[in-house]
Protein backbone atom coordinates (compact mmCIF):
# COMPACT_ATOMS: atom_id res chain seq x y z
CA UNK A 1 0.00 0.00 0.00
CA UNK A 2 1.23 3.49 -0.87
CA UNK A 3 2.41 5.63 1.95
CA UNK A 4 4.12 8.99 2.08
CA UNK A 5 4.98 11.82 4.40
CA UNK A 6 4.75 15.56 3.83
CA UNK A 7 6.50 17.93 6.22
CA UNK A 8 5.53 21.61 6.23
CA UNK A 9 7.39 24.00 8.53
CA UNK A 10 5.65 26.81 10.43
CA UNK A 11 7.18 29.38 12.84
CA UNK A 12 8.75 27.12 15.42
CA UNK A 13 7.39 23.79 14.33
CA UNK A 14 6.43 21.27 11.69
CA UNK A 15 3.17 19.94 10.41
CA UNK A 16 3.77 16.28 9.61
CA UNK A 17 1.15 14.77 7.37
CA UNK A 18 1.10 11.02 6.93
CA UNK A 19 -0.64 9.44 3.96
CA UNK A 20 -1.58 5.77 3.68
CA UNK A 21 -0.28 2.98 5.87
CA UNK A 22 2.13 3.95 8.63
CA UNK A 23 3.64 0.54 9.30
CA UNK A 24 7.05 -0.69 10.43
CA UNK A 25 8.40 -0.70 6.88
CA UNK A 26 7.94 3.10 6.89
CA UNK A 27 8.68 4.28 10.42
CA UNK A 28 12.50 4.25 10.19
CA UNK A 29 12.40 6.22 6.95
CA UNK A 30 9.93 8.76 8.31
CA UNK A 31 11.92 9.15 11.50
CA UNK A 32 14.94 10.08 9.38
CA UNK A 33 12.91 12.50 7.29
CA UNK A 34 11.63 14.25 10.42
CA UNK A 35 15.13 14.30 11.93
CA UNK A 36 16.47 15.93 8.80
CA UNK A 37 13.91 18.74 9.14
CA UNK A 38 14.60 18.99 12.86
CA UNK A 39 18.31 19.44 12.23
CA UNK A 40 17.86 22.19 9.69
CA UNK A 41 15.10 24.14 11.44
CA UNK A 42 15.31 23.10 15.08
CA UNK A 43 11.52 23.03 15.55
CA UNK A 44 10.08 22.46 18.98
CA UNK A 45 6.47 21.82 18.05
CA UNK A 46 5.25 18.93 15.94
CA UNK A 47 1.69 18.59 14.75
CA UNK A 48 0.80 15.21 13.25
CA UNK A 49 -1.95 15.39 10.64
CA UNK A 50 -3.41 11.89 10.30
CA UNK A 51 -6.38 12.71 8.07
CA UNK A 52 -5.15 10.42 5.30
CA UNK A 53 -3.49 7.82 7.52
CA UNK A 54 -5.31 4.58 6.77
CA UNK A 55 -3.32 2.29 9.03
CA UNK A 56 -1.67 2.64 12.42
CA UNK A 57 -0.06 0.16 14.81
CA UNK A 58 2.48 0.24 17.62
CA UNK A 59 5.31 0.90 15.17
CA UNK A 60 3.69 4.20 14.17
CA UNK A 61 2.76 4.99 17.76
CA UNK A 62 6.40 4.38 18.74
CA UNK A 63 7.63 6.65 15.96
CA UNK A 64 5.36 9.48 17.14
CA UNK A 65 6.20 8.93 20.81
CA UNK A 66 9.92 8.96 19.97
CA UNK A 67 9.57 12.41 18.36
CA UNK A 68 7.54 13.65 21.32
CA UNK A 69 10.34 12.60 23.67
CA UNK A 70 12.83 14.54 21.56
CA UNK A 71 10.92 17.83 21.38
CA UNK A 72 9.94 17.58 25.03
CA UNK A 73 13.64 17.86 25.88
CA UNK A 74 13.63 21.14 23.94
CA UNK A 75 10.63 22.30 26.01
CA UNK A 76 8.40 21.79 23.00
CA UNK A 77 5.36 19.62 22.38
CA UNK A 78 3.32 17.57 19.94
CA UNK A 79 -0.28 17.30 18.90
CA UNK A 80 -2.66 15.69 16.44
CA UNK A 81 -5.20 16.96 13.97
CA UNK A 82 -7.77 15.14 11.83
CA UNK A 83 -8.13 11.81 13.63
CA UNK A 84 -10.57 9.26 12.26
CA UNK A 85 -12.51 7.17 14.80
CA UNK A 86 -10.21 4.19 14.08
CA UNK A 87 -6.94 6.14 14.38
CA UNK A 88 -8.25 7.82 17.52
CA UNK A 89 -9.06 4.43 19.04
CA UNK A 90 -5.55 3.04 18.42
CA UNK A 91 -3.99 6.22 19.88
CA UNK A 92 -6.30 6.05 22.90
CA UNK A 93 -5.42 2.40 23.58
CA UNK A 94 -1.71 3.18 23.32
CA UNK A 95 -2.00 5.88 25.98
CA UNK A 96 -0.50 8.59 23.76
CA UNK A 97 -3.30 11.00 24.65
CA UNK A 98 -1.72 11.36 28.08
CA UNK A 99 1.09 13.40 26.49
CA UNK A 100 -0.42 14.68 23.23
CA UNK A 101 -3.83 16.21 22.54
CA UNK A 102 -5.99 16.43 19.47
CA UNK A 103 -6.57 19.94 18.08
CA UNK A 104 -9.10 21.43 15.68
CA UNK A 105 -6.52 23.30 13.65
CA UNK A 106 -2.89 24.39 13.43
CA UNK A 107 -3.93 27.73 14.91
CA UNK A 108 -5.54 25.97 17.84
CA UNK A 109 -2.33 23.95 18.39
CA UNK A 110 -0.08 27.03 18.17
CA UNK A 111 -2.24 28.89 20.65
CA UNK A 112 -2.15 26.01 23.14
CA UNK A 113 1.61 25.56 22.76
CA UNK A 114 2.20 29.31 23.05
CA UNK A 115 4.05 29.51 19.75
CA UNK A 116 5.09 33.08 19.00
CA UNK A 117 3.50 34.48 15.86
Amino acid sequence: MESKIRITPFEDGLVIKIFGELDSSKTMLYKERIHKEMRSNGPRFLLFDLKDCSFLDSAGIGMILGRFNEVEKLKGGCGFINLSPYVKKVIRISGLFSVMKEYDSLMDFRKDMGVKL
Binding site: M1, E21, D23, S24, S25, T27, K31, S54, F55, L56, D57, S58, A59, I61, G62, M63, L65, G66, P85, Y86, K88, K89, V90, I93, S94, G95
Partner: protein, 145 residues
Protein backbone atom coordinates in the same frame (compact mmCIF):
# COMPACT_ATOMS: atom_id res chain seq x y z
CA UNK B 1 -16.59 -22.51 8.03
CA UNK B 2 -14.20 -20.77 5.64
CA UNK B 3 -10.48 -20.91 6.29
CA UNK B 4 -7.11 -19.99 4.86
CA UNK B 5 -3.47 -20.32 5.77
CA UNK B 6 -0.50 -18.25 4.68
CA UNK B 7 3.16 -18.99 5.33
CA UNK B 8 5.76 -16.32 4.67
CA UNK B 9 9.35 -15.36 5.46
CA UNK B 10 9.96 -13.51 8.71
CA UNK B 11 10.58 -10.06 7.27
CA UNK B 12 8.68 -6.87 8.05
CA UNK B 13 7.99 -6.32 4.36
CA UNK B 14 5.56 -9.22 4.60
CA UNK B 15 3.38 -7.42 7.13
CA UNK B 16 1.65 -5.69 4.23
CA UNK B 17 1.08 -9.06 2.56
CA UNK B 18 -0.55 -10.42 5.74
CA UNK B 19 -2.82 -7.37 5.95
CA UNK B 20 -3.89 -7.58 2.33
CA UNK B 21 -4.54 -11.32 2.61
CA UNK B 22 -6.80 -10.97 5.62
CA UNK B 23 -8.64 -7.98 4.12
CA UNK B 24 -9.41 -10.05 1.03
CA UNK B 25 -10.41 -13.03 3.13
CA UNK B 26 -13.08 -11.08 5.04
CA UNK B 27 -14.19 -8.93 2.07
CA UNK B 28 -17.25 -11.13 1.26
CA UNK B 29 -18.72 -10.12 4.66
CA UNK B 30 -18.80 -6.51 3.51
CA UNK B 31 -17.20 -5.31 6.74
CA UNK B 32 -16.97 -1.66 7.76
CA UNK B 33 -13.75 0.21 7.02
CA UNK B 34 -13.16 0.52 10.76
CA UNK B 35 -13.40 -3.23 11.32
CA UNK B 36 -11.03 -3.86 8.42
CA UNK B 37 -8.57 -1.32 9.84
CA UNK B 38 -8.71 -2.78 13.33
CA UNK B 39 -8.19 -6.31 11.99
CA UNK B 40 -5.22 -5.12 9.95
CA UNK B 41 -3.73 -3.47 13.02
CA UNK B 42 -4.09 -6.65 15.09
CA UNK B 43 -2.57 -8.81 12.35
CA UNK B 44 0.35 -6.43 11.95
CA UNK B 45 1.03 -6.44 15.68
CA UNK B 46 0.99 -10.23 15.86
CA UNK B 47 3.09 -10.67 12.73
CA UNK B 48 5.66 -8.07 13.73
CA UNK B 49 5.99 -9.67 17.18
CA UNK B 50 6.69 -13.02 15.49
CA UNK B 51 9.30 -11.47 13.21
CA UNK B 52 11.01 -9.20 15.72
CA UNK B 53 10.74 -11.07 19.01
CA UNK B 54 10.11 -14.64 17.88
CA UNK B 55 12.72 -14.84 15.16
CA UNK B 56 14.92 -11.81 15.81
CA UNK B 57 14.58 -10.76 12.15
CA UNK B 58 15.87 -14.14 10.87
CA UNK B 59 14.36 -14.12 7.40
CA UNK B 60 15.08 -17.82 6.83
CA UNK B 61 12.28 -18.62 9.31
CA UNK B 62 8.55 -18.75 8.57
CA UNK B 63 5.56 -17.04 10.11
CA UNK B 64 2.17 -18.72 9.78
CA UNK B 65 -1.06 -16.78 9.55
CA UNK B 66 -4.17 -18.91 9.85
CA UNK B 67 -7.67 -17.47 9.56
CA UNK B 68 -11.04 -19.03 10.15
CA UNK B 69 -14.43 -17.53 9.54
CA UNK B 70 -17.53 -18.93 11.18
CA UNK B 71 -20.51 -16.78 10.28
CA UNK B 72 -19.29 -13.31 11.29
CA UNK B 73 -16.69 -14.46 13.80
CA UNK B 74 -13.14 -14.24 12.57
CA UNK B 75 -10.38 -16.20 14.28
CA UNK B 76 -6.84 -15.11 13.52
CA UNK B 77 -3.96 -17.34 14.55
CA UNK B 78 -0.36 -16.21 14.16
CA UNK B 79 2.32 -18.79 14.85
CA UNK B 80 6.08 -18.63 15.08
CA UNK B 81 8.54 -21.34 16.08
CA UNK B 82 11.03 -18.85 17.45
CA UNK B 83 12.39 -18.23 20.88
CA UNK B 84 9.13 -17.86 22.77
CA UNK B 85 8.33 -15.51 25.61
CA UNK B 86 10.18 -16.08 28.88
CA UNK B 87 7.89 -13.99 31.04
CA UNK B 88 4.41 -13.50 29.65
CA UNK B 89 3.19 -11.28 32.48
CA UNK B 90 6.08 -8.92 31.90
CA UNK B 91 5.54 -8.92 28.12
CA UNK B 92 1.86 -8.05 28.57
CA UNK B 93 2.59 -5.02 30.73
CA UNK B 94 1.81 -1.82 28.79
CA UNK B 95 4.92 0.03 27.62
CA UNK B 96 7.14 -2.98 28.28
CA UNK B 97 9.44 -3.83 25.37
CA UNK B 98 12.34 -6.24 25.18
CA UNK B 99 13.64 -4.09 22.32
CA UNK B 100 13.22 -0.43 23.34
CA UNK B 101 15.86 0.44 20.72
CA UNK B 102 13.30 -0.26 17.99
CA UNK B 103 11.00 2.49 19.22
CA UNK B 104 7.78 0.49 18.98
CA UNK B 105 6.10 1.79 22.13
CA UNK B 106 5.77 -1.64 23.76
CA UNK B 107 2.03 -1.52 23.17
CA UNK B 108 1.51 -4.34 20.68
CA UNK B 109 -0.07 -6.83 23.08
CA UNK B 110 -2.20 -4.14 24.73
CA UNK B 111 -3.47 -2.96 21.35
CA UNK B 112 -4.34 -6.52 20.25
CA UNK B 113 -5.96 -7.35 23.57
CA UNK B 114 -8.11 -4.22 23.47
CA UNK B 115 -9.20 -4.43 19.83
CA UNK B 116 -9.97 -8.15 19.98
CA UNK B 117 -13.22 -9.59 21.29
CA UNK B 118 -11.15 -12.45 22.62
CA UNK B 119 -7.39 -12.64 22.85
CA UNK B 120 -5.07 -15.40 23.90
CA UNK B 121 -1.35 -15.86 23.71
CA UNK B 122 0.42 -19.15 24.27
CA UNK B 123 4.14 -19.39 24.39
CA UNK B 124 6.72 -21.94 25.35
CA UNK B 125 10.14 -20.51 25.97
CA UNK B 126 12.49 -21.88 23.34
CA UNK B 127 9.65 -23.33 21.24
CA UNK B 128 7.65 -20.44 19.88
CA UNK B 129 4.48 -18.45 20.31
CA UNK B 130 0.91 -18.56 19.16
CA UNK B 131 -1.49 -15.65 19.23
CA UNK B 132 -5.21 -16.33 18.91
CA UNK B 133 -7.49 -13.40 18.22
CA UNK B 134 -11.25 -13.50 17.84
CA UNK B 135 -13.16 -10.65 16.31
CA UNK B 136 -16.84 -10.40 15.56
CA UNK B 137 -17.29 -8.51 12.34
CA UNK B 138 -20.13 -6.04 12.71
CA UNK B 139 -22.66 -5.31 10.05
CA UNK B 140 -21.99 -1.95 8.44
CA UNK B 141 -23.08 0.98 10.55
CA UNK B 142 -22.59 -0.84 13.84
CA UNK B 143 -19.05 0.30 14.57
CA UNK B 144 -18.39 1.19 18.20
CA UNK B 145 -15.42 3.51 18.58
Amino acid sequence: MNKMELKFSATLENEALARIAISSFIAPLNPSLEDISEIKTMVSEAVSNAIIHGYGFDMSRDVILRCELEKRTLTIIVIDYGKGIENLEEAKRPHYSSRPDLERAGMGLTIMETLADDFEIRSVYGMGSKVIIKKNIALKGEYVS
